[in-house]
Symmetry: C2
Subunit: 266 residues, 2 copies
Amino acid sequence: MNAAKTGNFQHLGQLQRVAIAPAQLQPEGILLDRPQQHYLSRVLRLKRGDRFIAMDGQGQWWLAQLSENLEFATIVESIPVQTELPVPVTLILALPKNGWDEVVRQTTELGVTTLVPVLSDRTVLKPSPNKLERWRRIAREAAEQSERQIVPTILEPVTFQDFLALWETPPERYICVPRTDAPHLLEQVLASQRSPTGLQQSPIEIAVGPEGGWTPGEVEQAIASGFQPVSLGSRILRAVTAPAVALSLVAAALEINPTPNQSLSP
Amino acid sequence: MNAAKTGNFQHLGQLQRVAIAPAQLQPEGILLDRPQQHYLSRVLRLKRGDRFIAMDGQGQWWLAQLSENLEFATIVESIPVQTELPVPVTLILALPKNGWDEVVRQTTELGVTTLVPVLSDRTVLKPSPNKLERWRRIAREAAEQSERQIVPTILEPVTFQDFLALWETPPERYICVPRTDAPHLLEQVLASQRSPTGLQQSPIEIAVGPEGGWTPGEVEQAIASGFQPVSLGSRILRAVTAPAVALSLVAAALEINPTPNQSLSP
């Protein structure tokens, strides 16, 4: 839960964050390059003795302090950040006609690990390499703003059939289907991530369809490949809203603590 | 759960929907006015004997069939639609600088009952009457697209202080606070909506802050007015994403069935 992760570090939220390369980390502290020195002293107007957060982009954060010499920062302490979900969550998304920028932004904020854009029976337009580069840039920016430790991976688009044929089946795969009597995604994730003996968290894959939904044939193929059909609720969601909803539910189910009041009965 | 609500009516998803006024419903069927006749026969190209869904905009749906005379439709059956959440959910939202159109659209899709735009310490720009009219139009469109039975109410903007002073305290009020050791919203709603003896669902209010969050003073005032501080997860969400996440969690918690596997232990 959040308490243990951020309880003692609320003051850190006020500090500026600077990305460093792993090689800049020396036994005696952080060697700052010229652009970083300029950024810290001229842009952020930090002075010797001022503190900031150094991040290596691979999940490590340090509380750092500018030395007399602005070329160098001493490390005050390592910061035990944990903003990532406890298991990898992959979203398989049929490309909606519009709104993918926002889908990438929101699902990145919500903790997605990997985004797999797929071409489905109802979305056949293959995005350009420029589009893919744009989405990766948005993911980097959103990961930074939401204080994540990793940047989600956005794969090259594939057809849904190729995806089903090529990917190994993980323990938990869900396909979201509207107007169905399928169980609710939240219900399934809460039940499957827990057992009578405690947490049993495993990687999760969720497939979300395009405008108009997956075709019946696609749903059948997905079920044959180990996907469980699930509902996101009684209302019909747009293709650009459903991914954020799916991620919200999975992230929350993974992050809430099973306490005596919430634990599942044996 | 969805099963009982929509299981027998999956075929209805393919039918066109037409809004009627309650007065058009006669003992012998639905009297269609000229624009509706034109729409059904010329635009939708329905012929005598074809079926469509008539909605009165107040939560009643009927399966209707065009008669010989296109001025009239017989009622085949009443459709037991239930796309609304089991309790009213009110969102109190500090106005973000941008992106309110999308906030209104997403939270409407997700089932919000009432939106209360509030001016907070960090958002002082009062929206114009035009803006408010625009949001209400977006809510109507989104309610229709997501197949809801009611259109959410969007109130006139008030200051957060006035809101706290004027509104009665409902049983469940939450204020979302980032970088905190507060419990997770999902955890709280799952626990409070249930008791050892079964479901005890009560109206819910959730306050979501602006860019930069609520000020400490606002959080204190809210707590004094009966709001419980909650977290939406370990990552920092943008002001335009947080409302949809809060609604996703509350809607799912209200809609999942407590089964032996998910029920809360006594």
